[in-house]
Chain length 104, copies 2
DNA sequence: GCGGCCTGCAACTCGGGGGTTGCACAACCC
DNA sequence: GGGTTGTGCAACCCCCGAGTTGCAGGCCGC
């Protein structure tokens, strides 16, 4: 059920979305609240939140008539672990190739 | 000093670039060699390699008239560590906020 | 119940990036 | 030297996504 990595990074490859994530890192907030402290429209932020939710980095929390969002740091850490494993694997393989080449 | 995170993730948010990285993870290769086993033009791959090089994920290696590229797994792992730290920090802060709220 | 927030959906603009083709140039091989 | 292979640069097309405005619908409080 692990989400594929690429869409997550596509979501993380946007400055505005990082601003949103950073703001949410200081506490839950609604789209309107975020729009008040960011230089973009509420609708734009709503779309960004939808994207972040699709890749599992953020979670909506109904609070009466407003919808607050909570950042899911554990998901980010999980993604980080997969990334680290990939980097280590590549370095390991390339080192092995180099060793074999030197064996000649 | 450390490159900003966003461009790195923007670079990682593309399927074709991941195909390139995966291929390079099995051994160094030139743009032409990659074009032979991927469904895109050599020029497109060259542009992707330039992007990956700009964010430090890949390194060019001149070999006579051809330019092979090597994937830098350590850079990926370094990025992963920064990401993990961020996720942990967010979770820590939100947990602290929750604790304070329950103190009331 | 009624006016004011907050949300959701739809249509539109516009700039950027992924992909292509075409050509010029450099380096290897025979 | 001449043909072949690999690279670099430039122009072009085209689609997608970030952002906007506008409007309709739901919940609150008075």
């Amino acid at each position: 059920m692990t989400v594929t990595l690429v869409p997550v990074f596509a979501a993380l490859g946007d400055e505005t979305r990082w601003s949103i994530l950073q703001a949410l890192g200081e506490g839950e907030a609604s789209a309107s609240a975020l729009a008040a402290r960011l230089p973009v429209t509420r609708q734009a932020i709503a779309r960004h939140l939808a994207v972040l939710h699709e890749v599992g980095l953020v979670e909506p929390v109904r609070a009466g008539r407003e919808v607050k969002y909570r950042v899911l740091g554990s998901q980010l850490s999980a993604t980080a672990r997969r990334l680290d494993a990939l980097g280590a694997e590549w370095d390991r393989r390339l080192a092995a190739i180099k060793d074999i080449a030197e064996q000649l």
